[in-house]
Point group: C2
Chain length 230, copies 2
Amino acid sequence: MLNRPERIEGTRNIPEATVARLPLYLRALASLADQDVAVCSSKELATAAGVNPAKLRKDLSYLGSYGTRGVGYDVEYLRYQIARDLGQTQAWDVVIVGVGHLGSALSGYRGFTSRGISVAALVDTDPTKIGTVVAGLTVVALDDLPEIVQRHDISIAVIATPGPAAQMAADALVAAGVTSILNFAPAIVTVPDGINVRKVDLSVELQILAYHEQRKSSLAAPESDEEVAG
Amino acid sequence: MLNRPERIEGTRNIPEATVARLPLYLRALASLADQDVAVCSSKELATAAGVNPAKLRKDLSYLGSYGTRGVGYDVEYLRYQIARDLGQTQAWDVVIVGVGHLGSALSGYRGFTSRGISVAALVDTDPTKIGTVVAGLTVVALDDLPEIVQRHDISIAVIATPGPAAQMAADALVAAGVTSILNFAPAIVTVPDGINVRKVDLSVELQILAYHEQRKSSLAAPESDEEVAG
DNA sequence: CCTTGTGAAGCTGTTCACAGCC
DNA sequence: GGCTGTGAACAGCTTCACAAGG
């Protein structure tokens, strides 16, 4: 009775690390389905997703018991269950703020436009960009955010502005009613409680690789096998 | 002799989680330096970097004792020390494979072109792209990789191809002598031992946000404060 | 006083190894 | 026999709280 790890009022409590891997399993299952594989073992699926089989089974166990012992997992069934838990049975419209190179690239990025997610609007503050058409969408002004968010019932936004503009973008998004933000800008944005922010920092990833490269080359004799997680 | 946690032959053993945050500290320090701040406390720096002060101090303690008790950290001095540990005192040339929307965006991305890192070459397999100029660089064929890697002494590459082409790109990069890869393609690439691969999956990030959104809306009464790490 | 640097505690995530079930 | 599901051990990361030192 001390710790109740199971679930809170009917909703399963899935660890964050597991949530982050579920989309990978989903993609691996889609790939297997394309190859007309109907059933697969944890080992096969784990290989396709690039993880350890034990980890995969542990992850899936947080969702429920969707496999068959001695057999494996039904590809389509498991696929549906994961999609369900991830919230992909409903459609999500997102808005992208900042239509520079990155914002334009994201607008047309497959995977942003599939998996239940679709880019519904593009916003920028630059008057020369407002009104132009990118990836089939007309860029609108920041002032139009509240109306757009309400019209499309948007709760998720992407910030792809330069660093200094990110906080202003976040403020505008929160004011407009957005509650989850994916931030690509190289800046820390602060938001009220209850708003989710995830940060993806492209240059940081390269700097991490550079660190490991430097470390490799500074060790004349490589002592042990090291791995960097994918 | 069982576990030797400290260091291996003069080289400090910095935890992976710490390495991933050092670039953030570096950026925060740069920002403070721009505002002519000469000294800062762990609390100030932590706020600027968006982390807990205790975590910041712990992280810095892996590099050495660069602060002054009762005073704080010298901004320029700490900045140099972190840059040094991250390997930014040397220049890194990188090659980008795949010059689609994302690859083009990355080519011109500031932060890819600063911090000791610069994009030295762009590679694609599409004959209609080869020879075109993107972000000041002429796109070359995949066959030219070995020569390019050797000429620029490149050890770090970025894969920005469609998913199905990623493994071929990785194979070509490894064959050409690249030892670290940042993979933006929605696919698992397998590489020989000793090659570092980091994966950034843009659509996965959105799916994670969608999960949390769904969870929020399915809970009529929000039970507890939850946070999503940045 | 002040703030850093750090053992120690606690938490989260991973891996193992095997019981349970087909 | 084979494979899933899972307790338990393990490893790594975070946070606390305080000693060390300006």
